[in-house]
Amino acid sequence: MSGAWLLVPILLPVAGGLSMLRIRSSRLRRAVTLGVLSAQAVLFALLTFLVEGGEPLLYLGVDLPVRLHSDGVGRLFGLLVCLLWLAAAVYALDYMEHKENRARFFGFYLVSLGALMGICLAGNLITMYLFYEMMTMLTVPLVIHTQEKRAIAAGIKYLGFSVLGAGLSLFSFFFLRRYWADDLFAPGGILNPAATAGHEQLLLVLYLLMMIGFGAKAGMFPLFTWLPAAHPVAPSPASAVLSGLITKMGVLAILRVTWFVYGPELLAGTWAQNAALALALVTVFVGSMLAYKERVLKRRLAYSTVSQVSYILFGIFLLDGTALKGALLQLVFHAVAKNALFLAAGAMILAVGQTRVEGLRGVGARTPAALAGFALAALSLIGIPPTGGFLSKWYLVQGGLDAGLSGWGYAGLAVLMVSALLTAGYLLPVVLAGFFPQEGVQPPQQECPLSAGINGTVLLLAALTVALGLFPGLLDPLVEPALALLAPFGS
């Protein structure tokens, strides 16, 4: 079948989102949202198995083809996004009952999923860039949903950083397109050795620029400061997908450029790889440290995303099969755990109206389910066995020590452990003070009861972090094909 079929999972959520303009009844909205998202997950899985695609669908200029294709990596990212988008939607449908402008929220919520699908299915850099910018534009309304002054300022910051990042990447793209014969992503790189000979330094500079550019979305140092501004001001379900999934699109772009455009052969051992590794590790530390010092719960979680997503980037930059496995597992575990954390935090904040960590002392008496979910997800993020985060760190460190860059392996181990300690330091006190407040501390007043949809989603995701940690074999059908594509090219 032709690659045009891959337009279906991109257009379906767009159509669903546009239909929100006409829907007034909240029951119909619930039905349409859940229907579209469930159908989307099934369709995406089916079509990406059936259709490979890859042929040009459209020419933007003489030689700028738009291509859609599906491979193991796109399927992993795409399915993860579809499923967690659905989970967050179940939560959002209940959560947004307490907020204004629901039609607008769900409209953009669904439409932006189409853009994410486009990034996952993009077959070449320019297609990815198009959907990437589209995603930025479509998610700004989610950030500024409350229309408070703070939210609008954060939205503008988000827009500025994202466009700046994407612009840096586009800049590199213009240079880069002279060096490939065919622009369809291929594992191991597509740059033509005959053309690149003698231009390595230029290419490495471009690589680093692209990493910084796409790294903006993934919250990598130096362009990460939009993240703690933008994620907390959005409504909680939007924060969850912004932090858990949209940052992963930056990761996907970096993975595509590193493993599918440049290829490990060109990058391994160069200064650009070292610089990228250093940026990732600096981010891991800086994110955790700032999260530790932050008192507003959702901002704390946003800083935590900065740190945790860079674990994935570290694994990608190591250019090693085992480390890549760690990175892909971390991708899944972080997405699930961070969604759970943001949703749980949102639920607690909704229930008692306190946004700061101090205000949530004793909250376990009011929202035990949400805090229990928060606790399990926190353990996963710290990396306490048997939750998932433990396993991804294990592979990341083993890969780092294997990668032949033994200095980076040890540095990675040290930074990862310090970061895990800080993660424990910024997440566990919330749980401990929530469940075991000192005698005499009054729990905060309950302002609003939590529905089964909200508690259920949080607990489901939290249980998933434990289940996936105990039986990571469940992820093999998704992770192994992606690894099989790339691992042979690793060190």
Partner: protein
């Protein structure tokens, strides 16, 4: 079938935990009975496993991604049995201790979870499995520590968890490095794998880091800081298992690493010996100064762990001849567990009546209670190492191993002097042990109660508690009387975990061996008479009063760890991180200011509702952006860039 028993030992309590909590929401009685049934089942299973004498393994491939493995037989079955005993007796006594207190459902759920995790640690075949259950145990036992949620309990719990997390991460990194070096973490296969690794800093780092978490859990100096506050904070039956059983999980890890990774390494043996000696003296001195019954017992646990560590160190030093040290270590481990499983709950009985652990308030409680005195006297004499009790046997073996090593190094006077010094520290600590136990026993059972307090309490413990404690105490009694018949088989059972050598016959009641015990007891009496009675007790018109003479300033936790980890390091880290953050935002705002520097015209939307009007009127200029300083700064930056360009060109 025994593999199934082994799996059930771990899974039964883990699965029963949520059921217990759910049952508790309906009826407290049902929950208590259910928990008692589960722990009794666990006890029977562990007994079956231990008495069968079978050994075997249960691999769980792909669980947790890397595969876990359980193993039973020998030391593992023995420790699992000890855990089951601890939990069964604890559960039976909790009912009385908890009468009418809050949060019981939560407590019972985590109590059972901790049992499952502890059994998992003891039955683990590889260090990864050990670590997985070890972390689980650390987190679930936290709930036991903070149970009362009193300020001191919350603080103790924080310290407990912080130590567990920090040191757990050290162990995790050690395991990662060790796995990278050897390719296996299986305890039985580790020694062979380590032989293939060139000795050097890599192996030392890996092994050393792995031990940290276990040492912290065992309460070894300088990671013992959580113990004197956490054990007393927990409910008394829980303190019993924390001290009696959970500490042993740490010892299990240390044993595994030092006999597999560092087998026969003299440097490691010496390091461990130093740590062991410091730990035993420190614990004993802290116990001697304490005026709180439970704190004394907790500090005594630190001290006894020092004895066990010394035993492990002697195994490393003695190498091929370490079987006596191994037997001493194993037996002391069992002894200490069973002793603390009696003493802590017995303290709980006192607390239930008087609601205090302060020696000055509980003084004389046991004067007219012969049953309780007898129950407490047996473990006390055993811990003091009085000949005829079990503690004497294990301490004699440990002492014997030190004497053996002194014979081995006879050629060198320096080494001989050093190890004779170590031997004397060992005997001295035995004396201190006698002294603090004498202090406790005299205070609680012999002295008159404080004036104005009727001794009263005709019914001071329930029949269940009394029976449980009596059974435990009676079980302890024959051990010491028939060491060859009862204790040596235990040692033979456990020794294969650390050495292939067979234990030879040892005569315990020779004059030479008795001498050590007698020296210790004499030291103990002297310390009691001259230090405790002179310095730590003040006589006044109201009677005598125990004084807390330990200087408050000598507190490693408050003086070093808390300031360092809570203020100094986070401050340095935060400065670096904030710098990184401001670097980006600062640069960007600088760029934007530079770009918008000369904006001279504005769009004024107010003039016409339909069209925006363009005005050439310049904006009011104010603020830093328009200042002379700003221009100077930009000029400076320009010059700096020029210089950089010139230098780098």
């Amino acid at each position: 079938m025994y593999t199934w028993i082994c799996a059930a030992l771990v899974l039964l309590p883990l699965a029963a935990a949520p059921v217990a909590a759910l049952a508790g929401t309906r009826s407290g009685r049902a929950r208590d009975n259910f928990t008692a049934a589960v722990t009794a089942g666990e006890f029977l299973l562990a007994l079956a496993l231990l008495s069968s004498g079978r050994a075997g393994a249960l691999p769980l491939p792909r669980l947790c991604g890397l595969g876990l493995e359980l193993q039973f037989g020998g030391l593992r079955s023995l420790l699992a049995f000890l855990a089951a005993v601890g939990w069964l007796s604890g559960t039976l006594m909790l009912r009385e201790y908890f009468r009418g207190s809050a949060h019981q459902n939560r407590y019972y759920a985590f109590w059972l979870l901790t049992l499952g995790a502890t059994a998992g640690v003891f039955l683990s075949a590889d260090l990864l499995t050990t670590f997985v259950f070890f972390e689980l145990m650390s987190f679930t036992s936290y709930v036991m520590v903070v149970h009362t949620q009193r300020p001191d309990a919350v603080r103790a719990g924080d310290t407990y968890l912080a130590v567990a997390v920090v040191c757990g991460l050290a162990t995790l990194s050690g395991l990662m490095l060790l796995y990278r070096l050897t390719g296996t973490l299986n305890i039985d296969g580790l020694y062979d794998a380590v032989q293939a690794v060139p000795p050097g800093p890599a192996l030392w780092t890996a092994g050393g880091l792995t031990v940290v978490g276990f040492a912290a859990k065992a309460g070894a100096f300088p990671l013992h800081i959580w113990l004197p506050t956490a054990h007393p904070a927990a409910p008394a039956p829980a303190s019993g298992v924390l001290s009696g059983v959970i500490l042993k999980a740490g010892v299990f890890g240390i044993l595994a690493v030092s006999t597999q990774v560092f087998r026969f390494q003299t440097v490691w043996g010496n390091l461990l010996l130093a740590i062991g000696l410091v730990t035993m003296v420190l614990g004993a001195v802290l116990a001697l100064f304490s005026v709180d019954l439970k704190r004394t017992l907790a500090c005594s646990s630190i001290s006894q762990i020092g004895f066990i560590l010394t035993g492990i160190a002697m195994q490393c030093l003695l190498g091929e001849h370490g079987v006596v040290a191994a037997a001493g270590t194993m037996l002391h481990l069992v002894n200490h567990a069973s002793i603390k499983l009696i003493l802590f709950p017995a303290a709980g009985v006192i607390y239930c009546c008087l609601h205090s652990f302060d020696l000055n308030r509980i003084r004389g409680f046991g004067r007219d209670k012969p049953w309780l005195s007898a129950i407490v006297l047996i473990p006390t004499l055993s811990l003091a190492g009085v000949p005829g009790f079990s503690g004497y046997v294990s301490k004699t073996l440990l002492h014997e191993s030190m004497v053996e090593y002194i014979h081995l190094v006879e050629g060198s006077p320096l080494l001989e002097a050093v190890y004779t010094g170590a031997e004397w520290i060992f005997l001295l600590t035995g004396g201190l042990t006698c002294a603090y136990l004498l202090k406790l026993f005299t205070a609680v059972f012999l002295e008159p109660p404080p004036r104005g307090c009727a001794p009263g309490h005709k019914v001071y413990m329930s029949r269940t508690s009394g029976l449980t404690l009596s059974c435990l105490a009676l079980a302890l009694l024959p051990l010491g009387l028939l060491p060859h018949r009862l204790m040596e088989p235990l040692a033979r059972l456990a020794i294969p975990f650390v050495t292939d050598e067979a234990l030879h016959e040892i005569s315990y009641f020779t004059p030479g061996n008795l001498r050590g015990a007698i020296i210790s007891i004499i030291i103990g009496l002297m310390v009691y008479l001259y230090v405790v009675r002179r310095l730590l007790i003040r006589e006044n018109e109201l009677g005598s009063r125990y004084l807390d003479r330990w200087p408050r300033r000598l507190n490693l936790e408050n003086r070093v760890y808390r300031p360092l980890l809570l203020f100094v390091l986070p401050f340095l880290g935060a400065v670096a991180a904030r710098l990184a953050e401001t670097l980006v935002d600062g640069t960007l705002s600088l760029i934007s200011r530079a770009l918008y520097h000369r904006q001279t015209s504005t769009v004024e939307p107010d003039v016409d509702p339909e069209f925006a009007a363009f005005s050439s009127k310049p904006r009011p200029r104010q603020g830093f952006r328009y200042s002379f300083a700003y221009s100077l700064m930009l000029m400076g930056l320009g010059i700096a860039f020029c210089m950089l360009y010139l230098i780098l060109r």
